[in-house]
Subunit: 218 residues, 2 copies
């Protein structure tokens, strides 16, 4: 029974890794679509995000079946509950990337990115892609030091998010309201994407260090 | 044992209702703060959202303890997993309302709401408050017809969200970039708030109608 359960936990872990890898692909395509006004790539990102949602739902079903069959307690139970939350975060990350791709789609053949913010969004996109790849790696190795490192890395995304507002609200901003709306939302989506990375990394730290012992009187 | 379990499920339900009621209060204060540039009320909304987050976390802990002690299966298990998700949605709704209050705080003593969009935001705020109150009621009565009715009601919020963009991107929009940023984000927060209402209502429908029978081979 214990061996079956361990195999099931590995299956959950493998699927989380797979979903995280697909989220990294979706963000790569979304960022390309946004920066290059590439509609075909935007459509790929949007379609992959839909597939990603279904993968997350299927994973949730698997977790619920394991909960029912194995009636886990203590740490095993917390791993499975955390898996449900990580799956929700990964699903949301795919949706946020898909929103970024949708902005590019709406503005085509124009660009949604004004030149004054191009570098900022290039860095933001690259960071989000890197963070998504690192989350996939973290879900594989569950290394607590790596988890803490990732948690610190969203600070730069937050800084870039604030930079977007500094530019938009500065005296030199001469773009029309459409650009203002697009960069406001795109920046928000990039920032929320990184927030979810932090949430997932915190959950891995928490499960790995057993910092939840005080609540383990279940 | 069954009676203990039923009492525990009622406790979960009562806490969900209590959190939903507090979310309605937070949105009421956030909308007032936003429309009237009322900093004291904005601060109340922000403080209540923090308390709300703690209530949601405490509820999650309770659900995990029940899962560990009772090892529920089938419908009971699904109710508890859904409670975790509804708690996450309610926590997020409080955070979104708090973001709306924060916009008002940043712009004080000025207003974040241009006159051309005042009526739109008044209606959006009123709808979000109404939806939050209805969700609290729904979590009490778990009436499936009521759940379906609520699910349809976010359509008007979506319409108002689109209206905001029509105004901002229209020829008559003469406001500066600060207003454009504020109303873009505020509208997005109002719309996401209503999305979570739909999510919670769908979960109640699903649990009440047993539309998940096909997956009940657990």
């Amino acid at each position: 029974m214990r061996e079956v359960f361990q195999n099931e936990l590995h299956e959950v872990q493998d699927r989380l890794v797979e979903i995280a890898e697909s989220v990294a692909t979706i963000m790569t395509k979304a960022s390309t679509a946004f920066l290059k006004s590439d509609v075909a790539t935007a459509d790929e990102a949007i379609a992959l995000a839909e597939a990603n949602e279904n993968k997350a739902l299927a994973l949730d079903e698997l977790v619920i079946r394991i909960l029912a069959r194995q009636s886990p307690v203590a740490r095993d139970l917390r791993i499975l509950v955390s898996a449900l939350r990580m799956s929700a975060s990964l699903e949301r990350m795919g949706a946020l990337a898909s929103h970024i791709a949708t902005i590019a789609r709406y503005r085509f053949p124009g660009s949604a990115v004004p030149e004054s913010l191009r570098k900022t969004f290039e860095e933001m996109g690259a960071l989000d892609i890197e963070l998504a790849n690192k989350v996939a790696q973290l879900l594989k190795n569950t290394d607590v030091d790596f988890a803490r490192k990732i948690q610190a890395e969203d600070a730069r995304v937050d800084e870039l998010h604030r930079q977007v507002f500094d530019v938009v609200l500065g005296d030199d901003w001469k773009e029309n309201a459409m650009f203002t709306v697009d960069v406001t939302l795109a920046s928000r989506y990039h920032e929320r994407f990184a927030d979810h990375v932090v949430d997932i990394s915190s959950k891995v730290s928490y499960l790995t260090t057993g910092a939840w012992h005080e609540t383990e009187e279940v």
